[in-house]
Symmetry: D2
Subunit: 358 residues, 4 copies
């Protein structure tokens, strides 16, 4: 299994990078929700390859074709399925990967699990391309949530040593999200963005790649959503966020900084705000206590590893002969996947949140 | 729901801190597994309160009574249920919490979800006490895994500003785990341990608490376990680890450090080790690529927030009157929960791993 | 697994017939539901053994002890767990079963699955005794549903060749249910009941047992509950009903009779009843179309096989020697389990329905 | 949800009768399984419309296009997705159904659940056409099972008053299955087949439809597969079989006949057969005891209601005006869906069985 997630919503993602198509089935969206395809395509475009110096030049339309679940732009209540045909594939680039796994990529573990019949071509089902399917589902959830006053946004929080400003954890607003959505490099601090783009360019010049972090937030949620234990908000969000390749860590609210804090610093005092809403003065808890929303913004950050595929010679092995082998990945790859991963994070968060509201 | 987890194993945790009992049902353990109750009780003791200066003096036996699933010390294949009676409860300590939620605790969010009928006494179902149930299930999984050559161990990686040495990511061994298991303060570096205990003592003297991190690892796993997407090893482990109260972040392998790395640094080169086993020279990937085990040690770190309950006056609100209120938590609380959370992490990891091997 | 069910509600049943206790965890009941223990115990009593000539004289109190989830008679929103201690066990009766499986019982298949470590004593986890746990969970759901105007009832529809009158499929009412609940032999037609009791008595005199059918219905549900495909109402109800040992068939509405009907007979015409409610003139569809409730009464019948344990010599084999063996079951057994299974059916239906309303 | 099923295998079915396409995702089939598309298409053809007098003349190729999961005819281990485009749709036939629900069809309940945005055209997601998707998934499972010596077959057991011979419950063989697979009207007794075809013809001449039963069996399974309680074999099979529209009942082994039997008749005596295999002399238990396979053939029968769509005037209502309305279904419909439902039953059984062997 692995590629099917079943909760209030069900999500099933399929396809391999160089197969006929990739796609997604999203089951459980109630009937009567209008889907704005222009808004969805604009959202998809933020993840699309080929648009910027820091992104792979493989340019595919990535425009989903909907096969079911939407009639005249309105959901009919039964499963929504969309596919994206794979048109611009160049398998030859990957021909030697079958035998020589790329370091830090899933080639080797896919081979360990699936054996000789693993489809490693272009990363197969493990390709970052599959996040387009996640973005279709997430993009639908985002639209519906926004009509209910729940807004989600994200930005590149860091790449290498360059950091963006953080979201204000108690006072994030949709205006900020809207601005970020329109930026090629979604960051709060323009100067940091300039430096960060340089950092990526340097990595690219060195035939290398570079990692980073993404901060993502959701506002407008009431208190009381979620569950204790295994279905807490952190658990749900994590399960979806780790479905995005290259994520190696996730933290909520103050995150790993809580490790250095005292209770008197970390505890967020409650107060009563306008409309008799209970709020906290600080938001170290990231909007979640005991797995349940507090009504404060949900905030998380995820760590994205550098793209494994780099145009440098790397040490690996030949899986057939079990002899040492070197590998220089040709293909077309992003020197930094972080900017394109921002909408993926938003998609994952939107699915987790929309699911829990159903 | 939330307190039931269903995979190859099913796990159902029940109970409130000041109710009749807490307990766990673990379904799916095959018949014929010997359970050594002494080993289990020794494991449980590592989590037990009341033993050390840094732990709450509430001393309960915490010895599980098994109601089903084990006959003459051997599993019979049907659900294993164990309970721990709550004997040493002092609800009076919590009487004022009902109306005045403790900052950073789940009192408020439980109230938001369950309303006036929430059982907030002693933290109710959200109490750290419930991790005893997780440890029963995890302790069983640990025993079975160790008989198959899979070993799991953890240590306090940091508290406040004091850091322990890290596990050697490519060469962790059961000897280290065994030593750590016997320590009151499970740490690799004895000097760091001394400083760290002082750090906790300082927080205690200040009527405060302090957070920290835990590093946990598993060795002896073959390559090829796990799944892509939603049921990857990171997803599974995260879903269980975030069931432990106070966890605010998790990272695998190099974790958030990947954000500062280039691909050429982060990519772990493959080589062929003895017995034609494929290994990696470094282990930034933490034993997991594409959600699937690589055969290298699985390593993760989790951030534990400072215990919310501190003996200082804190600002909160009265939920009935919606007026400001102050709160001084009396009760008995750990100034630092991190050492007692180490076996909980091991338990969560053991459940995730044993589940995926079934 | 198998003994854990996870939907909107989660249900986890544990215990063996001759172990320390049996019990159930029901997770997902919202906070604030009053549980009337007298009503629950009265419901449990309908399933309890030892009360009638047709029931096993093994007399246990079967009174659940609640360990969690209910505070002062009100649900608190977190998992409800109840156990029943096993006190009146006589393992000696079963000593020879270990090696010689009882025909038509799960002894052999449990052995095939769990091997030598199967707990076959008294039927182990496969004992009809475990339905007491189902009745605790179902009894809670029944109470809550009845406060929302949804009523459930059942009767013995047949035993051997003796048939009770059927429910009027379009006009069942709570008054009928209430009467049936108070009968030792819950049947609509008193004369049929007399004959049916004789039929059971005859089987008993012959050291034999006898099967039967149960009809069960739910009224007061709105149209539009349920789902297409795998989570339809029939699918959900079946999954729970087949958890009751001895059930070998289930049919909804006209059931197997539809096989002999023409469309013009079987199609239930729609009409508009009082309050602009859409109803059908007949109810061959049993209240479910396309897996979704129509608002008409839900009706199903289940076939219950004769109790496998009979005091006659039966042919079997010795599992150790693989030689032929004969077996005469001593123990204490119901000549007809059907009357005691009626509340179990109601429990299963109540869980399925309450779950889908959440 | 409803249209996603998650176990060892995951199954997600999507599409509406008159939408762009229908399809299925089957996740969890291990890598390395060869899929013979000719065999699959031959299997699909048995379900296909338009071939016989008793089937709707709507003739679509129903040839699945595979989008993922199969490379060069071999599964690669990641999700298998196949779609069938809807080409021969005639929505006009259904134009008046939107407002006037067809008796016994899901039009009304879909409207009750999804409201005005339900896609009722051609039955939408509730159309029998969706069973083509089930057959793709089941056809794959059938192929794999047969290579492991597990064979599945079915026949029309009755239509109206005409009954076929039953399978020999202790001695079913693949030869019989193979013969049945090649028949247009898959029945054991040729004379019964002749009468049965006449029965269908009579219904057709009367502008009516007629129901029936299907018997389905699986052989070659070892003892010990399945689980107690909620995941027993009966539960699993039922959950999949009730996903087939028109099924109103299911019974295993002797089924509803157990209700008329004594224990001494119904209990199947054990004996030791060749190769020290434990068998039963009779098979009233239908190969399942306590939810677990006994090694004897698994046998079930399902009741199929007459096709709701008939070319007679029927009474219904206008959903907009809530006034009485009459309805004469034009469209193209099978006078008897039973023969075409046989491969659907085999598909459902194959999925349930293959799932439990993984």
């Amino acid at each position: 299994m692995g590629s099917t997630w079943k909760n209030n919503l069900s999500l099933s993602i399929f396809g391999q990078s160089h197969g006929a198509a990739i796609g997604v089935t999203l089951d459980g969206v109630p009937a009567g929700e209008r889907i704005d395809f222009d808004v969805l395509n604009t959202f998809m475009l933020r993840r699309a390859p080929g648009r910027f110096p820091w992104a792979t030049p493989r340019a595919e339309a990535d425009k989903p074709e909907f096969l079911s679940g939407i009639v005249n732009g309105i959901t009919c209540g039964t499963p929504i399925t969309a596919i994206i045909r794979n048109t611009n594939t160049r398998s030859a680039d990957y021909s030697n990967i079958m035998n020589v796994p790329r370091p830090a990529h899933a080639d080797f573990t896919a081979f360990a699990k699936y054996g000789n019949h693993a489809d490693l071509s272009g990363g197969g089902h493990f390709s970052g391309r599959l996040t387009a399917a996640l973005c279709i589902a997430g993009g639908i959830c985002l639209q519906i949530l926004s009509r209910r006053g729940v807004f989600i946004g994200g930005h590149v929080a860091s790449v290498g040593g360059v950091r963006d400003d953080a979201f204000d954890p108690v006072d994030i607003n949709e205006t900020t999200f809207a601005k970020l959505r329109q930026m090629d490099m979604p960051m709060i601090n323009p100067q940091a963005a300039t430096h960060l783009i340089e950092e990526i360019e340097k990595a690219k010049q060195a035939n290398d790649s570079i990692g980073g972090t993404i901060e993502c937030a959701a506002i407008g949620l009431p208190a009381g959503l979620g569950s204790p234990m295994f279905d807490g908000m952190e658990n749900r969000i994590s399960q979806l966020v780790f479905a995005i390749p290259a994520v190696k860590g996730i933290e909520f609210g103050a995150g790993f900084e809580v490790a250095t804090k005292r209770g008197s610093e970390n505890n967020d005092p409650f107060y009563v705000a306008e409309n008799n809403t209970v709020k906290t003065k600080t938001n170290n808890h990231g909007g979640i206590l005991g797995g349940i929303t507090s009504g404060m913004p949900i905030i998380f950050r995820a760590a994205i590893k550098p793209t494994p595929s780099i145009a440098q010679e790397q040490q690996s092995i030949n899986l057939s002969t079990l002899q040492p082998a070197t590998l220089t990945v040709k293909g077309r790859h992003d020197p930094c996947i972080v900017p394109r991963a921002v909408p993926c994070m938003e998609a994952a968060l939107a699915i987790a949140i929309y699911d829990v509201t159903l």
